[in-house]
Amino acid sequence: MTSVGFDVEAVRKDFPILSREIHGVPLIYLDSANSAQKPQVVIDSEADLYANHYANVARAVHTLGSEVTHAYEGARDKVAAFLNAPSRDEVIFTRNITEALNLLAYSLSNASTFPGAQRFRLGPGDEIVVTEMEHHSNIVPWQQLAQRTGATFRWIPIDDEGRLVESAIDEVITERTKVVSFVYQSNALGTINPVRRIAERARAVGALSIVDAAQAAPHLPLDVQDIGADFVAFTGHKLYGPSGVGVLWGRYELLADLPPFLGGGEMIETVAMSGSTFTAPPHRFEAGTPMIAQAVALGTAVDYVTALGMDEIREHEKALTAYALDGLQAIDGLRIIGPSTSLDRGATISFTLPGIHPHDVAQLLDEQGIAVRAGHHCARPVCLRYGIPATTRASFGVYTTSDEIDALVSGVKHVQEIFA
């Protein structure tokens, strides 16, 4: 069932929450796409920083200040290596991916008045392109940017199987396009998009390309040089790291000319009452005291998944996904929303059941100890596209077993019996 060399039982021992019971039965956590559980090393890492090394970063000359700065900047090195980034100075810590995407959108609108940032200016006649399967956090900031600048907001549509309409990529991304922001793996459909192809098209028309890798980072080897986009962002809590920290990676030559988003401490070069100048990336984009302990623990999470091996994780989850697709599709009436085979899709499966609302499915599964998500998954346009109010979504992670998928399948059948 799972790939050789991946010992899921050993992995499970790393996650203390997996020994919890829910309603008197062992927890089956199938909501990792929403937020992943934390291994003990990540929990310890945050606690150890507070217990033994805590002070503010970058400003203190004392020993603790040096230790904590070392730990924080060390996390940046780890993330840079994880992404295969050419330079550590291309890694910016943010609060989450939502903030990373907003940082870009606001920096681009700040370009309209920022000296030397002409190349980033947007205005009427320019176009911003996303896809129909984006998370709200990769839709709303771009709609707002379009509104602030007068640019036009456009999108690449999806087909019945939950894939981007291939021919639309070249039709929608044109010489008028200035920004293309798209999801690597869809959180609502599980689809893995042809990111290299889209980044290449964006480059060909001279547009900036931005990849939402929130759902890719925990499941696939991420290599920013191989993807070929200008910016790649992800969020720490889905990568087995703590909540409160995310990452924006960007090409240095772009970051070097991009105006700051937030102003404040640590992002300046000089400040006088007559005006201020700004420091170089990445610190230009990290105003104020950052999420110190969370960034350090994210570094530990990166070490953790790297030690498991991103290729091994991908194989483990691919096997589980194929197994789950088979089991779920054998259920009477169950409809998969998204690709129905494991080709180019990740370990996130959305489905509907005739006559039973997803919230009822999720609640009844919870009574059996199974945690899944129900709703529009912050990707409401996807639900509108398929004419459904919501879906039930099961998503897998490093700790998911085939037994848990069996429990899901029989749990769903039980729900059907209750409503029969």
Binding site: H23, I356, H357, H359, D360, Q363, L364, E367, G375, H376, P389, A390, I418, F419
Partner: protein, 158 residues
């Protein structure tokens, strides 16, 4: 199905066989309420005569909690004096806000009748709005029909 399941048989029965479902042609007010978390929707029409809810019909779609609760509500309030229906609405609201710690007197239980089955919902903050959807719509519809705004309990304009 365990005894402490949210999905009491009464709830499932009302979901499968809803009461007063369908929109009557003769009505004083119609309201449409939506619960954005589940995407539940309900339309309620009421007819008031002589200070009483003489007819109420509804249509809707959504989760079983919202649809069953609307069915139970309609069963309870049709034929009641508006004042009594409002008092009952209040009681149901308190039950939903009880976080699973409600202490209902026997009289309360009698009055709430099938609505008691929703007690367990109060432990799930995400679902309370589902259970309240129809009740809130009924209250708005009654208000829209002119109740409480310049009317007295005899249903006459003051």
């Amino acid at each position: 199905m365990s005894a402490d399941s949210l999905y009491q048989q009464i709830i499932l029965d009302h979901y499968k066989n809803p009461h007063h479902r369908g929109l009557p042609d003769d009505f004083d007010a119609e309201v449409h309420h939506v619960n954005p978390t589940c995407g539940d929707e309900v339309t309620v029409r009421v007819k008031l005569t002589g200070g009483a809810i003489v007819d109420l019909g509804w249509d809707g779609e959504g989760c079983s909690i919202s649809q069953a609760s609307t069915s139970v509500m309609s069963e309870l309030v049709v034929g009641k004096a508006v004042d009594d229906a409002m008092a009952l609405q209040d009681k149901f609201l308190s039950l939903m806000q009880s976080r699973g710690n409600a202490t209902l007197s026997e009289a309360d239980e009698d009055e709430l009748d099938d609505a008691v089955a929703f007690e367990g919902v109060s432990k799930y903050p995400a679902r309370i709005k589902c259970a309240l959807l129809g009740w809130m719509a009924m209250k708005s519809a009654v208000a829209e029909a002119g109740w409480g705004a310049g009317t007295n309990s005899a249903g006459e304009t003051a």
